[in-house]
Symmetry: C2
Subunit: 237 residues, 2 copies
């Protein structure tokens, strides 16, 4: 039981959905349709690789405010050139490709785990993904959120402390009544610094298999769980 | 069919939920529990009566930013004195009484109508009620929202044009791809001025029975519906 916790705030990319395999699967379909032969695992890693640096450029003021859809598109346009496939896609197809992030597939445990926890807790997203992206993803996959919260709402990006503070306020909670659930330690450590409870979800496959998997500070979190069903086991009576 | 519309944005108080009878029902239970004899229809009307003036005081700068929970509580404290029952309630009971707005009951057509429309459209709240209030209400009654949007997110109150503009942006839509659904003409006219489509829901019982009911500008809206099921009939194939 998570004493005093009323709401759970979830990181989404990597924690709830498997962006890497989702992008690879859609990419392989494009290979077939377009007669191209892109290595989509490499493409997915490169795309995701631009995520943090681009958010940091927004937060430093080097770039004006842009939501994640726009940052994804900026990165996509560069990658299409780098992978030498820019001419293979029409503008409408590029838009569809960029929206793959709205169609990311949940890890197998996500919907069963969330559905169980929703009986007892208010479930919110707390993602750097923009509201429309998160809403479309939920509608596409049936993710049972009570509230879609996004760093976009205050035009900042995690791990900016303001994001966690605003989330607790919107949820009508003290920070200590909210538990951040994430697969990424920097996210949890920032949430903890903001006064939230924390739960680490182990996602050793987030970056693909054959990758080293390491937890730096396993004792820093209120809960550590193998997946969302395992978290439900720990925080439900 | 609502051509080009992707998302529906709903006013909540009066449009989706029947605040008046909800407050009366809980009030009658308090009468019994406390041995008091308040006229809760009068109380409900007086409470709701302070809603618009208090939001206007916030928007004019006379009051600092306060969300609806706090405005409701400010009004409640005055009313408890005016109705001479302030001493009958403990602080915890006053908090519970104030939270009646988190437990408002949907009109009978709301959940069936929303559930049908959700198959085709993204359903968002767009209420002056705060996020936590709307989320708790949805959880309490099973209202099937995709996204909880509130004027609180940008610290303003409808009919401020910024609220409609922000809602469309968060939904990833052009204003014309969003239809505002409301029982109140000032809300719809402001949404229309912001470029949204509009649907008027007729709620002749919002203020109780034996009240005159009048629509000022019935030709100003894209749709006029008796209730949310009737709207679904009109905008679904």
């Amino acid at each position: 039981m998570a004493v005093g916790v009323r709401a759970l705030a979830f990181d989404v990319f990597g924690t709830v959905v498997d962006y890497r395999s989702s992008i690879i699967l859609e990419g392989l379909a494009w290979n077939e349709q377009k007669g191209i032969s892109v290595d989509w695992s490499e493409f997915a890693d490169a795309w995701r690789g631009q995520y943090r640096p681009n958010m940091d450029r927004v937060m430093s003021g080097e770039l004006p405010w842009m939501n994640i859809d726009r940052l994804h598109r900026m990165a996509l346009d560069e990658l299409l050139v780098r992978f030498e496939i820019a001419d293979a896609f029409t503008e409408a197809e590029k838009q569809r490709l960029n929206q793959v992030w709205h169609r990311l597939r949940p890890w197998g445990d996500s919907i069963p785990g969330l559905s169980r926890m929703r009986q007892t807790y208010t479930l919110a997203t707390l993602s750097n993904g923009n509201v429309a992206l998160l809403a479309n993803m939920a509608k596409h996959s049936g993710l049972p959120w009570d509230v879609i919260l996004s760093a976009e709402l205050i035009r900042a990006y995690k791990p900016d402390p303001a994001v966690y503070k605003a989330a607790a306020e919107f949820l009508g909670c003290e920070p200590g009544q909210v538990m951040m659930v994430a697969a990424h330690e920097n996210d949890l450590l920032a949430a903890k610094a903001a006064g939230m409870k924390t739960a680490l979800i182990l996602r050793p496959l987030e970056f693909g298999f054959n990758r080293p998997f390491h937890v730096s500070q396993p004792l820093s979190y209120d809960f550590v769980a193998n997946d969302l069903c395992h978290l439900a086991d720990q925080i439900l009576d």
